[in-house]
């Protein structure tokens, strides 16, 4: 185990180095560079350099098996890098409007990104814990970044308390697993006896910790409050990045450790059902757009959990089948993350100074006031709803097909019911935007147009949604790869 650190090892974590390095650089530059746009530019450069650095990493495991660099982690590095790039771009106008410091903000986003990167490629539980902590601690600070807002303080405090609680669960789980098996390395856990009680307890605690991160019911209570109080670009990050990273780890544990595969199946089944209903029923009664989207984000985590539950099923050709369920989960995470960043970016622009205009009623007449914002918002909502020609439809279709192939008929039915419930509140927003008239004149400080940077983000997201919905073959080629997750079993 005492092998020296080699160059390929370092190249495999180059993205994390790049993200952290640019983050530190931003902190150092802060006293000297007062120009926000320059900082934005550097941060965006950092995000993209980190993402592109994945090209240098040779496939294989690094640091004696702590980190696994395969197609799977490559996919998630790209996803996370793209999300943080878009979030940084969308934050530019937000920071100007709310008069917040840019350098620390971007640095924290990049640190969180690096943590998510570690989470996506971790092959060992303590490494994963480090990644989780890196992303979580940056997130706690980001949630309370609007210091003067009471809601932001509440958001940060809640997130911090409940988050640390969940992290503690995760750590206890690791300790128990280590106590039983003598290892925290996933590839060595693969041969562990699946019926041990202590191991099961450990796996349960790990599941609870990660369930908190992906906002699966019944660990989702914090989500609406935290999402509502956090600065909206940060909400965009929360709903996409940490979620994708935590799902990446869940799926990797699930794929490698047989004990988890058999034991977690019913847990995923129940979590998926609960999460879908908690999210959709909660969203039905919301009057604040940001909260509504927060609940919708819970519901979408539920759909991904359906795909995870579908992974377990063993058919005559288990390999082929499992890869389809992975593909469904990955495709869905990709499409949902992008759409979520887009919707929250629009919400961030529509909120106006101090995020005051976030009621559903404030959207009334948006179709005539801001045709571009209304049209793109509608398209993204339709993607969340799962209407054809958008990415969301194909994503749902893949999950649905995967569930049916695994004979999870009831779960598939529950998912269909939830899609119908979901269509109500998404359509409600569209109806308000186009078919209601705003009562009285608009307040003078209400936003009139989208900022240039936000429009760029939204355009990218809309094009990506249509691209994934109309020509998904390239992405499918990646996620359907048989050797997606290289296990060192």
């Amino acid at each position: 185990m005492n092998s020296p650190v080699t160059t390929p090892d370092l190249l495999r974590v180059l993205p994390e180095f790049a993200w952290c390095g640019v983050g530190v650089l931003l902190m150092l530059l802060q006293p000297f560079v007062k120009n926000r746009q320059a900082l934005t530019f550097i941060a965006m450069l950092g995000a993209s350099v980190g993402t592109l650095a994945t090209f240098f990493g040779p496939a294989g495991s690094a640091f004696s098996g702590l980190v696994q660099f395969d197609l799977y982690s490559l996919f998630f590095h790209w996803l996370i890098g793209l999300i943080s790039f878009l979030v940084i771009l969308a934050s530019d106008s937000y920071l100007e409007r709310e008069n917040l410091g840019a350098a620390e903000f971007y640095a924290l986003i990049l640190f969180a990104t690096a943590g998510m990167g570690v989470l996506a490629s971790a092959q060992e539980l303590l490494t994963a814990f480090i990644g989780l902590e890196m992303s979580s601690i940056s997130s706690y600070i980001l949630a309370g970044y609007r210091r003067e807002s009471i809601k932001a303080n509440e958001s940060a405090a809640k997130y911090f308390l409940l988050g640390s609680f969940a992290t503690a669960f995760f750590l206890y789980g690791i300790a128990l697993v280590y106590g039983v098996t003598g290892s925290t390395n996933l590839s060595q856990l693969a041969s562990a006896n699946p019926s041990g009680t202590l191991l099961r307890l450990g796996l349960t605690l790990i599941l609870i910790g990660l369930g908190f991160k992906v906002a699966a019911a019944p660990f989702q209570i914090w989500t609406p409050d935290v999402y509502e109080g956090a600065p909206t670009p940060v909400t965009a990050l929360f709903s996409a990045g940490p979620k994708a990273a935590a799902f990446a780890l869940l799926l990797r544990i699930f794929a490698t450790v047989d004990a988890a595969t058999t034991f977690w199946f019913w847990a995923f089944w129940i979590l998926a059902a609960l999460t879908m209903f908690a999210g959709n029923l909660g969203a039905l009664v919301q009057s604040n757009v940001k909260r509504l989207l927060a609940y919708s984000s819970i519901a979408h985590a539920g759909y991904v959990l359906v795909a995870l539950a579908a992974v377990t099923f063993i058919k005559p050709d288990p390999e082929m089948h499992a890869s389809q369920a992975y593909a469904a989960a990955l495709f869905y995470l990709l499409s949902y993350s992008l759409v979520s960043v887009g919707t929250f970016t629009i919400v961030s622009e529509l909120g106006g100074r101090g995020e005051r205009y976030l009621n559903v009623d404030d959207l009334a007449g948006l179709g005539t006031r801001q045709p571009f914002a209304a049209a793109t918002f509608s398209l993204l909502l339709l993607s969340l709803l799962g209407l054809p020609i958008t990415a969301g439809f194909l994503g749902k279709l893949y999950i649905f097909t995967a569930a049916l192939r695994s004979n999870l008929v009831w779960l598939a039915i529950l998912m269909a019911i939830n899609s119908v419930i979901g269509s109500y509140y998404y359509l409600r927003l569209i109806i308000v935007m186009y078919m209601h008239e705003h009562k009285g004149p608009m307040p003078a400080d209400a936003p009139v147009t989208l900022s240039l940077t936000a429009s760029m983000v939204i355009t990218v997201v809309v094009l990506a949604t249509l691209y994934l919905g109309l020509a998904p073959n390239h992405v499918l080629g990646i996620v359907l790869n048989q050797n997606l997750i290289s296990s060192s079993r």
Partner: protein, 527 residues
């Protein structure tokens, strides 16, 4: 012309989409050019829709002019289009009704004109796509895609309770299509294909057979979606609201074509894919269809609202279509297809006429009218023509379809035919009684007395569209061509636009020069 025939249907489906994009590029306030451009797109599409006819000789079987492109690799989805005799006729229907709808909205729609025309064209894309797709996935895609424009048409440009109607429409149809999606995926899991022709081949050659229970469930998953769209008796409640609240063009498209997509789906997918289940379900479906016929007619009989009356008459007539389909005789099926087209034209005409009345009096209540034949004799004549065609007077379009359906049904189940025939009688009752109350008797309202006079003239040039719809394609074309060529319309300068909008504000009919020109060119004299 191999190059053209290879992609003719693709062009046919997507041409209105490009038209919509072109309209999108026009300025918002350029109402006249928006209307003209979409009218041109509609007419060109109408002419295009006749090109496939040469490839489909009468009596031929199978799909012609097939388009086949691999689209998504996993699951394997192909962009597969094809036309046969049934689908191409229904395509003609929508391409005919779209330009008529644009003309009918020329003065009715005054706000958000650009969006309105884009929605009409998008609706056309979706409906043509529904009729031509041979891949279940592509079919579903167009099916879902069509909901949004129609919901917008009802929800933005409709009457007082438009939001309620739009949401009800959306929830009903989306609920139905969820079932269909489940069925499609189920079918895919069994066959590994979304291709209708391939699945049909598997079934016919005996490679694929369902257990009775599976087949019935699959049949139901498709049938419920289609029954909601038709609409069949217990699923019909969205239709009166949607029809009543929609703007005239929306009602015309809804009655003319959207309802037919449901019946078309039953003919195209339910019967060939699940023949045994269809036969087993036939008695139940027939009972529902007969209930639709009689119930729709009885409700229409007591409707105080003229537009709702026409909407319920649709429920009744579509019951005939479904009954004809599920009689499983050739004659009845032909009757059903004929009735679909006939109903599209005659009910479309009724909605246009009712829309004209609303434009002048802003009400649909029958009690508000009475004695209209005196101030508006020509209007009354046209209305009578539409009413007679709708109730199935021999020599008019409604008769042939209903007669064939009854004849075909009688050959297998005379009791069904007997019950359904009461619908013919009832339709005469409610239509003629409504006609009597609206047009005959003493004039009770002063407003009605002035209807035929200036400034709200009786029948404007634009309104001649509806006899065209009845008389058929040729006159509609002629009229549309006239509209475009008329000097009063072709100068799109701002002053004229202003004059028109001023005229509109005074409650005038802003088409005076046009009608004057029309008169000069030998159109129907107006006064």
């Amino acid at each position: 012309m191999p190059a053209l025939s290879g992609n003719l249907l693709t062009v046919l489906v997507f041409f209105p989409l490009f038209g919509a994009l072109a309209v999108l590029l026009l300025r918002n306030e350029d109402h006249l050019w928006i209307r003209r451009l979409s009218l041109v797109v509609g007419i060109v599409e109408f002419l295009l829709s006749f090109l496939p006819v040469w490839a489909i000789p009468p009596g031929s079987t199978g799909f012609k002019l097939e388009v086949f492109y691999p689209w998504i690799h996993s699951p394997r989805i192909n962009f597969h289009l094809g036309a046969d005799g049934i689908s191409i006729f229904l395509v003609h229907l929508i391409t005919l009704l779209t330009p008529i709808g644009i003309l009918a909205s020329w003065n009715e729609i005054k706000h958000r004109v650009k969006e309105f025309h884009i929605m009409l064209l998008l609706l056309e894309v979706s409906v043509i796509g529904i009729f031509l797709s041979l891949d279940l996935f592509v079919f579903f895609l167009f099916w879902e895609f069509g909901l949004i424009p129609l919901a917008f048409l009802i929800g933005i440009w409709g009457h007082e309770r438009r939001l309620y109607a739009a949401i009800k429409f959306l929830i009903y149809t989306m609920g139905g299509s969820t079932f269909m999606l489940v069925g499609i995926i189920w079918l895919y899991n069994m066959t590994g294909s979304f291709d209708f022709v391939a699945i049909q081949g598997l079934i016919q050659q005996g490679y694929l057979s369902f257990s009775p229970r599976t087949e019935m469930l699959l049949f139901l998953s498709f049938f419920i979606a289609f029954a909601i769209k038709v609409p069949l008796f217990p699923f019909h409640t969205w239709l009166p609201d949607a029809h009543t609240e929609a703007p005239t063009a929306g009602s015309v498209d809804l009655a003319g074509v959207l309802l037919k997509t449901g019946a078309y789906g039953i003919i195209r997918f339910c019967l060939p894919l699940f023949p045994n289940a269809s036969h087993r379900a036939a008695p139940w479906v027939a009972v529902l269809a007969i209930i639709s016929i009689i119930y729709g007619a009885l409700v229409a009989l007591v409707q105080p609202n003229l537009k709702r009356l026409v909407a319920y008459s649709s429920v009744s007539h579509m019951g005939f279509v479904v009954l004809g389909i599920f009689a499983f005789t050739n004659i009845a099926l032909q009757g059903a297809v004929f009735l679909m087209i006939a109903h599209g034209i005659s009910t479309g005409a009724l909605f246009l006429l009712v829309g004209m009345l609303y434009e002048r009096r802003h009400t649909f209540e029958i009690t508000e009218f009475g004695g209209l034949a005196t101030p508006m004799p020509r209007y009354a004549a046209y209305f009578l023509f539409a009413v007679l065609s709708s109730l199935g007077l021999p020599l008019l379009n409604g008769f042939i379809g209903e007669f064939l359906v009854l004849l075909g049904v009688y050959q297998v189940h005379w009791k069904w035919a007997a019950w359904a025939a009461t619908g013919v009688i009832l339709s005469a009752c409610y239509l003629l009684w409504a006609y009597q109350r609206v047009f005959f008797g003493a004039i009770t309202h002063q407003k009605n007395r002035d209807l035929g006079r200036e400034p709200t003239r009786e029948v404007g040039a634009r309104d001649h569209v509806f006899p065209d719809a009845l008389a058929g394609v040729a006159r509609a074309l002629l009229h549309a061509a006239l509209r475009l060529l008329l000097p009063g319309n072709s100068a799109g300068d701002a002053s004229q636009r202003d004059a028109r909008s001023r005229g509109a504000r005074r409650g005038r009919f802003p088409c005076r020069r046009t009608s004057a020109n029309f008169r000069r060119k030998g159109g129907v004299p107006l006064r």
